[in-house]
Amino acid sequence: MSEPTKPAGVRRREFLKVLGAGTAAATAAACTYAGPEETGKLIPYLVSPDQTVPGVSTYYATLCRECSAGCGVIAETRDGRAIKLEGNPEHPLNRGALCARGQAGLQGLYNPDRFRTPMIKSGSAWRAATWDEAINLLAQNLGETRGRGVLGTGVFLNQHESGSFPAFLDSWLASYGMRPHLSVDFEADHGAIDAHRRAYGASWPRWNLADAKLVISFGADFLDGWGASVPHQLDFAEARAKIKDAPRFIYIGPRRSLTGLNADQWIASKPGGELAIANFLLGRGDANAASQASGVSPATLQRLAQEFASAKPALVLAGGGGDNGVELVSAAAALNAVKPAAGDAITSLDGIARTSDVIATVERMRTGQVAIAFVRGTNPAYALPKSARFADAFAKVPFKVSFSMFPDETTELCDLVLPDLHTLESWGDAESTRGTITLQQPAMDPVFTGTRSTADVLIAVAKKDSAVASRFADADYRAWLFKRLPGGGSAQTMTAALAKGILPGSSAARAAAPAAPAAITPAASTTGDFFLVTYLSPSLGDGRGANKPWLQELPDPVTKVLWSSWAEIHPETATRLGIERGDILEVKTSAGSIRVPALVYLGVRPDTIAVPLGQGHASPAQSTWFDGKDKAVQWGYGRYARAVGANALDLLPARSNAGGGVIGTTRCSISKTGEQTTVVSTEGSARQHGRGIAQAISVNEIDAHGEQVEHEVKPPGDAPHKFLPGLRSPVAADAQGELGSPTAADQGVLQGLYDPKNPAKMTKRRWAMTVDLARCTGCSACVTACYSENNIPTVGAPWQNGVVYATHSPGFNITRGREMNWLRLERYYEGAEDGRFTEDFEARFIPMLCQHCGNAPCEPVCPVYATYHAPDGLNVQVYNRCVGTRYCSNNCPYKVRYFNWFGYGEPDRVQYAFPDPLHWQLNPDVTVRTKGVMEKCSFCVQRIREAEHRAALEHREVEADEFTTACAAACPSRAITFGDAADANWSVTKLIEDERAYHVFEELNTYTAVVYLKKVNHPAGAVTAAEGATR
């Protein structure tokens, strides 16, 4: 594509116009798209924009549209650039938390593959166009189509949104005589939504986990992307945090997902067999029949039934992705004793078009009944099973318009691209929970001036057409929207509302979705000796996350595989078939076949193969490899997604109710291709080898004795010692503690070491962190938060290897253990040591980051003081001083130091991790590390200093829990707490006192500042302390 006016993107000073847009008016004024300012250099302020202090962040409350849930986010902007997304604490849905996908929205905004101008397909080639040209072309086509009298057959496929836009869109379509648009969400669990509507009168009730004593999930992965995962996680973690009367959790399904790994018990039923178990619990049918259908032993079912009967009340959830999904979810609803709170259902999932409607539309296209088609924010060419044959049906449509931001598979089939604005650049609203409107305001001016909000484009198009112009009098969508918001968008209401990001009331009602035509259900593939389970990748979703390097680099919470696809197979089956990790398998169904590396996984039934969705973006147009420099449009969903992994949807029959995660009775066969590959994974050993890194304790044990017994296996001769929390612990006995005090026993020179000017007045600090493993679900939101806050480069892209032997295999650097995750989430298995199948194994998640040891082994070995101990107990890394001996990393028992093997931060290199404009996401408070230096978690020292400076400016001390680190802020299960262990007012100090507290590798005397609280297991029935105390 031709580059827009030199150099692409928005100039800094143009951003400054929006700054200070705390009030709607100011923002509105700024949101008229002035052309790019023709200047190449940065100029200091002559007249500084209102309310703007350079280097001080401005925060905008807005909306996340990475999935349909519609969480509220706070966008932190600095000098006009959004640099960080965090949850909006005011928002009823996510209450300040934000998942990895939400945070990665930033990389959608700054994605280097975004369309920079409208594009027109002439012949088979694409050319950049001006907006006038593009809009005229569309208007003219609409005219012609109307002329032919077939405009009514037009179809608009829009990404599912709640809020006013759907209504606006329908009214626009209606004004042209077109039927209402299809609100498409390929991730939605349609079966569950239908059943919920019947059972609870809401498409997605707010589950009442707080009151449950037992949680049973029939394949409902409510922690990894089923419905709205963030609120689920918040509630689940809260429930589990009530250690003693926390609900026990049983997961029933063929594959142990992230949710399954968080369960206390896994019952591995056959795909589709869940219904039988549910019915058995309902008293319909006996255990043997259920056992027949589900492949679960009658004994287990009996025990389940007893427990279900005894433990009251029980919350029962079910996923509706399977063939009998609707029945299953209905059965679960019947079983569910904990009624969801009626008032506050999650409304953002209302009005999603059924897949049957989508497929019906596709069939209409195939038969040439569709004269014009619009696609926005959804990618059916990829996300519909290949057997739906969307591509050739779509080709039959005479004129196809895409409003996509990215060059994806569907857009490539269109004739006209009118690139949309990102959520963070445009106006909008959503109704995530009943009675609350979440406002979506621009956090910044568009990154590319060649992009426009679809709504505004539609208005512009309408204005070209005398017939409909009258119905769109408003200048732009913002004006249209404000009129319809409660309070009529008056300045004062909006000012107040935009500050919070939410507004009480209800969005403009949209026309009801069309009634579902009869479902088309092609026969599911029944050949092959394995069940096929395809599931939504928690990080990539239905694939829309695949073009964001943060999400590609985020290890799958369960398998810890990244930058690739894989097929999960149970060790037992693997040994039977002589398959090893990394063998490339061909998975075949009647619908199609894919080639993916085998991954041996304990948590899948021996008769089941599980394959994740989200990868395998491809483009017929371009097969040439991207070398990190190529400037052409990166078709196939951009440079980061193309040719990574395989698309499991190719295996699926087009199904009437195919939600993204399909746990159907589809059968498949596998065969070894004989090829081998290294599975791209961050996992070293999945076992703790009794080293007590992630420790757990049985809830009974806590009941048994108030003071819990020590389980740590110490080397013989190592004297057992009582855990000393807080300041009393060695954790605080660091430089600041002893050497800092004016009365130090140490030689005189050290008195008031770190503050020679006033030794006496030194405030004693010890920054510390607790991680509650009873809360942590392993969702990995903290990892992405850390990448985003600390400018951590992603290193897995295929072109980021050495120059000479670049292998072009995605994740090559990571196969060499070179990932840079300052905070990594380790997942250890307990039990099931022998390769044989058992439902009885446990997974422990533990976030591992720099422990900021009091006796840091890394410090004394550095020859140049590049790492040393700060007065407030931080273990500091000085990048500019580092010469790269890497001795510190060798000497770190926790292995949390990461080395810059290449110039990831140097724009002139192929390894560059932030191609323009991705570098705009960089946090100005954190330096980008150069080649050849060591880096590691800094406890977000930039946030610490910011807080201290703010306090100093306001002539006060830093208040307790005044701020927190990025990982703690993001954590949707509130497992991470950060604070000053030297000050009793901070909540971290109280948590450190918890009886479950322990240090990792305490026997090494490192005196870590990170204190973990043991995971709490809820074994079935009465279990002796000994059994429960697995370690």
Binding site: E683, G684, S685, R687, Q688, H689, G690, R691, I693, V713, P715, P716, G717, N801, G802, V803, V804, Y805, R816, G817, R818, R824, E826, Y828, M848, P857, P860, V861, C862, P863, V864, Y865, Y868, R881, C882, V883, G884, T885, R886, Y887, S889, N890, N891, P893, Y894, K895, Y898, F899, N900, W901, F902, G903, Q911, T930, K931, G932, V933, M934, F1001, L1004
Partner: protein, 490 residues
């Protein structure tokens, strides 16, 4: 020499080799020493070929390094948690090599071990060049090699100094000291010999150069008096220095808490290993030299025999250290240590560990046989195995320990890339380039010291010397190794 041999027939009985008082029976007088040693300085075609090969290897290494500096350490085979690899291994390897020289020249000098005389010059030169080679590796293993001088305490306006508690700074001091002292030692010993070259040289240019290098040395009694004294003190200094340097190198590992590194046996273990590897390299070098330079009657089988005994001894010390490590791991009850050592011998790194054990523990035991001790060909082959084994010893110390540390989640593997190998090759090129240049410009044996052990001319032949030679039958081929003298030599 045939003549001297026939002069003193062996009276049937086997001579007492080690205490042969006349060390060089086949050397008649001072002039012969001058003639034969200086004779070796004539460049030959073979020499030029070898030099060419060495320089080629060096160029390959330099290219690889430039590539690595440009694109970053990522091009080498590092695989976290294995943050140190071939470069550190090779660094320790060369430092080890660099120990035999000073050991032989200094310690054996103090102990008045006779067999040192003929081999110490080679060994010393080897030391200097080996240390020059080793010194490069800490620099080229850095992430930012252009900042290596930050490890040196130089006055700077920011008043930032190195962190003197870091073993790496200890290294800097130890190695620079060692390089300075050993090269000084070499040069001081060379001065009288350069004077000899000066006086024999006819080519005016070379003569001028030698004259300058010899600092106008004129063999006066006063010069000799101070010379012998100074030499003694240098030896006295070098002896503890040798021991300290490799101890310090071993601290790089012993001071870390890495399982397999953090052990007190390392300093003696490393010193023994260093001497062992050094002797190995001495054999690798001296045996071809004595053959191609026809100096078998200077480096006699006695000398090789004695050196071989030392080699055997150090090999057994090293072997003991290996076993001690296992025993300590076993008795410590420390599961990290135990699992690591299990992984070392039976786990993913078994192949390397067994190469090490075979080459350093098993093969050298052959030296218990006197026949093999006195068989130069076998010594040469064995020495190659020793060099290999000692490189792998360092591999086994560095890589398996790092790849199998405390945190199971971060257990990894390691595989060098062509960059590592090229730089390793380059280091050999660099070393042998210097050594080859040395042996054709300067005497490979200490002329003036050889003269010390050659009986001077006398009006009245010295009774003791005569008696000795008679009794010991020192001219027997068994001692001189005359049987391997190429026909027509001298």
């Amino acid at each position: 020499m045939a003549t001297t041999a026939s002069q003193y027939p062996l009276n049937g009985q086997r001579p007492n080799i080690p205490s042969a008082a006349v060390r060089l029976p086949a050397v008649a007088d001072y002039e012969q020493v001058d003639r034969e040693i200086i004779g070796t300085l004539r460049p030959t075609l073979g020499w030029f070929t070898l030099l060419g090969i060495a320089v080629l290897c060096l160029l390959i290494g330099i290219t690889a390094w430039m590539y690595q500096i440009y694109s970053g350490l990522g091009v080498a085979g590092y695989h976290p948690p294995v943050m140190w690899g071939v470069y550190i291994i090779t660094f320790v390897f060369w430092i080890g090599i660099g120990h035999a020289g000073t050991l032989i020249s200094a310690i054996l000098y103090l102990f008045r071990a006779g067999f040192r005389t003929s081999i110490y010059r080679c060994a010393e030169a080897m030391t200097v060049f080996a240390v020059m080679t080793a010194g490069l590796f800490p620099i080229l293993h850095l992430g930012r090699p252009w900042k290596f001088f930050w490890l040196i305490p130089y006055p700077n306006w920011r008043l930032i100094w190195p962190q003197f508690k870091s073993p790496l700074v200890w290294d800097v001091f130890a190695i620079l000291t060692y390089l300075t002292v050993s090269s000084t030692f070499l040069y001081i010993g060379l001065i009288p010999d350069i004077a000899v070259l000066r006086d024999r040289e006819t080519n005016p240019v070379r003569k001028a150069i030698y004259a300058t290098l010899s600092l106008g040395w004129r063999n006066s009694d006063r010069e000799w008096r101070h010379f012998t004294r100074a030499y003694l003190f240098l030896a006295a200094f070098s002896t503890p220095l040798v021991l300290s340097v490799h101890s310090v190198v071993s601290f790089d590992f012993a001071m870390a808490l890495v399982p397999g590194w953090h052990t007190t046996v390392f300093p003696p273990y490393f010193v023994a290993g260093a001497i062992f590897s050094g002797l190995g390299m001495v054999f690798t070098i001296i045996i071809p030299i004595r053959k191609f330079f026809r100096l078998q009657h200077y480096v006699t089988l006695n000398d090789l025999d004695a050196a071989a005994k030392m080699c055997l001894f150090t090999s057994m010390v090293v072997g003991l250290a290996y076993l001690t490590e296992f025993q300590v791991a076993w008795m410590s009850g420390n599961k990290f240590e135990q699992e690591y050592f299990w992984n070392r011998v039976f786990g993913q790194w078994a192949w390397a560990a067994w190469i090490m054990l075979l080459c350093n523990m098993v093969l050298p035991l052959s030296l218990f046989s006197q026949r093999l001790r006195r068989n130069p060909s076998w010594l040469f082959i064995l020495s190659l195995f020793i060099n290999l084994g000692m490189w792998f010893e360092r591999f086994v110390i560095v890589v398996p320990s790092l790849s199998h540390e405390y945190e199971p989640w971060q257990w990894g593997s390691y595989a060098p890339t062509f960059v590592d190998y090229s730089i390793l090759l380059g280091s050999f090129g660099w070393f042998f380039m210097w050594f080859l240049l040395f042996i054709k410009q300067l005497p490979v044996m200490a002329i003036s010291e050889l003269k010390e052990v050659v009986p001077p001319k006398r009006k009245h032949p010295h009774p003791d010397e005569f008696e000795h030679s008679r009794d010991e039958g020192i001219a027997h081929p068994f001692i001189t190794g005359e049987h391997e003298l190429p026909g027509g030599a001298h």
